[in-house]
Assembly symmetry: C2
Homo-oligomer: 189 residues x 2
């Protein structure tokens, strides 16, 4: 197996353990055991548990950041932009729900530079979303409710998807996208 | 101070510590220190850290259960019922956001009987909500989206309120209720 693939395998196995037990409670020994290899051989591929955590979280945060930048710089209408943001969250959730558990539960265990970098990305992400909503209310595409309430109620649902969707056996991704967009944009009544 | 009030004070101080550090990391010594009293004197009022946790969580869960039972047994229309559920969550959040942090983060540390009792209440709560939505779609009061998506997107927002609302300085409770009801029921476009 190529070294790059081996590293990906380690990151994937670690995501599952971090999700189940939390970053702090997982040892490199646990990880090696879960993968059926020796702890020493993990270190041929990664330097530390911290490196694994930052790989999981920073990769995901950069993916969200790039997606959001592309959407917010486009000249689409606000409603289309928000639809694209909903799809971005669903796509990432479908691909890596375990990693999102680390991002949500264990981001505070990132060390110095990565922690700051992560917090900046999260702040910018929310702020870009806020600006999109703001522009939408100015253009009368979005109703003039309190902007913070709109931002919170949309993001709280999208950020919790990783917990809920893996347990749903009967909802395929297309229905999820279609109905989630309708519910969040047009409501339920 | 009356013993009953003293116990409430202990529960309140513990809620704040549990929120900040998590149930597992807080000791009775930490709690006594935060309250400026001796650890031994805590035991005049409560038997254990577990008793504090179960007081916080079970009281809140019973409050939600009673509120939901009243709403679901009433003969109001579905939309009115859902509005009342949103108000229930906002009222509890306004009164006890710290306790809700324990309920959300530390429920799994409840011991045997209380854990089962809590899980049953949570299951019944969600199920009652699901039945209300189901009835609403049958009566054409609610759009015919996938019911699980409606239940998830509404509850994920209401259950995260305790994290977000305490940081909002500029949104008063009346605006919150009004706009949250509109956003969740009628959407943002």
């Amino acid at each position: 197996m190529k070294p790059e693939n081996r590293k990906q395998e380690i990151v994937k196995a670690a995501s599952i353990l971090f999700k189940e037990k939390g970053y702090s409670a997982v040892t490199m020994r646990d990880l090696a055991k879960a993968m059926g290899i020796k702890a020493a051989s993990l270190y041929n591929h990664i330097q530390s548990k911290q490196e694994i955590l930052s790989t999981i979280i920073i990769d995901l945060a950069e993916e969200f950041t790039e997606g959001m930048n592309k959407i917010s710089e486009s000249d689409q209408k606000t409603i289309q932009k928000i639809e694209n943001i909903i799809e971005l969250h669903i796509d990432v959730t479908l691909r890596n729900a375990d990693g999102l558990a680390s991002l949500n539960n264990d981001w505070m265990h990132l060390e110095e530079d990565n922690l700051q970098y992560f917090e900046k990305m999260r702040y910018d992400y929310e702020n870009n979303f806020r600006k999109i909503v703001q522009k939408g209310t100015e253009d009368k595409e979005i109703k003039s409710f309190n902007i913070e309430i709109i931002v919170f109620s949309t993001l709280s649902t999208l950020r919790t998807l990783y917990l809920w969707y893996p347990k749903q056996k009967d909802i395929d991704a297309d229905i999820l996208k279609k109905d989630m967009i309708s519910v969040l944009l047009s409501g339920i009544v």
